[in-house]
Point group: C2
């Protein structure tokens, strides 16, 4: 073809149920759906970009059982975070290798909403794919949703893939 490949950015995060390095139900679902229904066997036509945003408050401190008092402590914490993020991305990169589709993957720190929009601006993918827990309006008041924010504000087409009903955990806020 000689045509440019279609670059699809996928926001991925960890599961709140199974812990690292497991991907969340919705980001795993969004990825597998994209492969099955969009990429299909046309692997050379697509390039997948996996963005994992680590939220410092959530990811860095939740399992803290000691006070960080020295530079060394902080360095260790950063290293631990980095390893966790890398494990998550490894899952998706390995799947892409199995399938034969090219990919890149990287980690950013910050508020997922802002980071995803900034990365869309910076890298200009053709399409942004986000998984969604499919929460109702009442649940959303409390947890906010990254997918809705991206859908409204991203400067590229956005594909939202809701978690299927039979994969929804007992507490739908979990993922």
């Amino acid at each position: 073809m000689g045509e440019e490949v279609t670059r699809i950015m996928i926001g991925v995060n960890e599961s709140s149920l199974k812990g690292y390095p497991h991907p969340s139900i919705s980001s795993k679902g969004a990825f597998e759906w994209t492969i099955k229904k969009i990429v299909r066997s046309n692997v050379s036509s697509f390039n997948l970009l996996f963005l994992h945003v680590q939220v410092p408050d959530e990811d860095g401190y939740e399992d803290v059982d000691s006070i960080y008092a020295s530079n060394e402590d902080f360095k260790n914490m950063k290293e631990k975070e980095r390893v966790r993020g890398t494990h998550l991305l490894e899952y998706f990169v390995n799947r892409c290798n199995e399938i034969g589709v090219s990919c890149q993957a990287w980690i950013r720190q910050g508020d997922p909403k802002d980071v995803i929009l900034n990365e869309v601006k910076r890298l200009r993918p053709d399409l942004l794919v986000v998984g969604s827990r499919g929460l109702g309006p009442f649940q959303k008041v409390f947890v906010g949703t990254v997918s809705e924010f991206c859908w409204k504000h991203a400067e590229c087409p956005v594909m939202t893939i809701k978690r299927s009903a039979d994969e929804t955990p007992r507490d739908p806020v979990d993922d």
Copy 2:
């Protein structure tokens, strides 16, 4: 492959600027983007389903300059509507024929929001594609947006393709 094709439903409507049979800027843009970035040269992997919803109040009465008094008048009006909808769909079907991708196209009457959701339930496409004017919150208060409603409620993945800034007419509510 022997695999099932990916069925993509695209909601299309007429332009508020150019009149029938011209497609709106956003639905034409959504279609062309889907071809260029998703279908690409893999035409045998996809099947496009074009749904055009005619809103009786908008489409049937806007150019009325006489009172409909008999059954015959209503029959003529219905026929005129049917012809207009068919011309719109012809545009997309012709493009698909040129490209070599299989498609179906049909017309429904009613509120686009409800009709699109019902058609998604009935036909179970893999993906729903909707163009969007990309209106801000203030504009949306007055015009509502079909794309937002579909994004929230459709029982399948939804891809929203915003109209590009350089295609936005002077009044962004126009399309």
